[in-house]
Amino acid sequence: MSKKILQMKNIIKSYSDTEVLKDISLSVEEGEVVSIIGPSGSGKSTLLRCATFLEKINGGLIQYLDTVAAHTNEEGKVVYVNRNQLTHVKSYFGLVFQQFNLFPHFSVLKNLTHAPILVQKRDSKEVEQEARELLKKTGLEDKADAYPCQLSGGQQQRVAIARALNLNPDILFFDEPTSALDPELTGEVLKIIKELADEKMTMVIVTHEMSFARAVSKRVIFMDGGFIVEEGDPEQVFGDPSQERTKQFLKNYNQV
């Protein structure tokens, strides 16, 4: 059995009175690509935000490799590890946002190198060399000195992916990485993600690109109303969904 990179168990998340995640459990093995699909408001982003500690959970457990980063104690309170340990756990994952969120005042190269040098205290020469290789891989080697505002959306998102990769994460999360892009630019981003999948990068991808999800993932999760309604092999979920709600969602989707 290959090792589990991420385990989320019985995750509860509510905003004031509304429960947005209702007892979600998800574990991701090394090299696995998991796609999360579902209607708007079903809690997909919230799940990623809880996994990446941008939001605090109200119940459940989050574990990366051997480190339990958050758990619910006997009194039912969620306890997170201390700040130092949390910073360490954060080095296990990367997150690619829908809106890229590049740092506009840094050049492309500096976007990639700043965090590894400042946060991970790595050697700047080595970091820069790795960054240049990543830029080459993402087809941006001639953009190292450009600024984000000079790039197309597709290029910016590729920089964001390279920025996350330059910290050598064990798992990479994507929250609708192509939703902010013009249709003709989605291909170049999906191609990079596909290549990462081929290299056995562990990834969790929230997406509305159904055919891409079907082609790239090993497992598909359908979420609705804060629950995981169905999960399984992409051929099964897309080809022969077992749940009525999944069928309905995919049917509506294909009509759009």
Partner: protein, 215 residues
């Protein structure tokens, strides 16, 4: 008194005008940032006190604040008013301008998208690193035009030091005008301020241009 003598006499006060100007900037620019951070504090008491103080400072004339800080200690606790008025003048100006800068900074900080904080957080930056390396540089660029406006106003506001008879350029000019019953010193002062502000515009324009490498 000849025009030339007037100009020479008033020029002697220019160094004091410059002292008010530069010292005020040196103190109020960073102080404004501290005030903004207090104003944005999660502690409700701290943020509301700061807010109240800002609104009093912005809601009352600088001239009044100058008088209060220069003569207040004498009337309140009987401290003698020091002969060198530079200290109270600079204190009053710095507090006043810090309040304005604080509001400008606050607007700048609020205009940075949440995504910048979130990206930095996921990349492992601490709160301090995020503020200093990611947020602050972008804020500075965004607020620069508003800062320039305030700096131009400060040049002209230095003339308010005449209310406490601090011998800067305008105070000297006003005294000459009174003794000679002449309007000329005011014209000379006008030219001085205009030239000073032309320099300010030039320098601030250079800085803005330097930060124009991204938008």
């Amino acid at each position: 008194m000849s025009l030339l003598t007037m100009i020479i006499k008033m020029s002697e006060g220019l160094s004091r005008t410059c002292a008010i100007f530069f010292l005020t900037l040196i103190f109020s620019l960073p102080l404004g940032m501290v005030v903004t951070l207090l104003r944005r504090s999660k502690n409700k008491i701290i943020s509301s006190i700061t807010r109240a103080v800002i609104s009093v400072i912005r809601g009352t004339p600088l001239m009044l604040q100058l008088l209060a800080i220069t003569y207040g200690p004498y009337y309140l606790v009987g401290l003698t008013v020091s002969r060198n008025k530079l200290v109270p003048v600079v204190v009053a100006f710095s507090i006043n301008y810090a309040a304005y800068f604080a509001e400008i900074y606050r607007g700048g900080i609020d205009s940075i998208s949440k995504g910048q904080y979130e990206a930095a957080d996921v990349l492992g930056y601490t709160k301090t690193q995020t503020f200093l390396r990611i947020i602050l540089p972008q804020v500075i660029k965004r607020v620069l035009p508003s800062i320039t406006n305030e700096v131009v106003t400060l040049v002209k506001d230095t003339s308010l030091a005449f209310t406490v008879s601090y011998q800067e350029m305008f105070t000297i000019g006003k005294e000459i005008a009174n003794s000679q019953t002449s309007f000329t010193p005011f014209l000379v002062a006008g030219v001085f301020y205009f030239v000073f502000n032309a320099l300010v515009d030039f320098v601030m324009g250079k800085i803005e241009k330097k930060l124009n490498y991204y938008h």
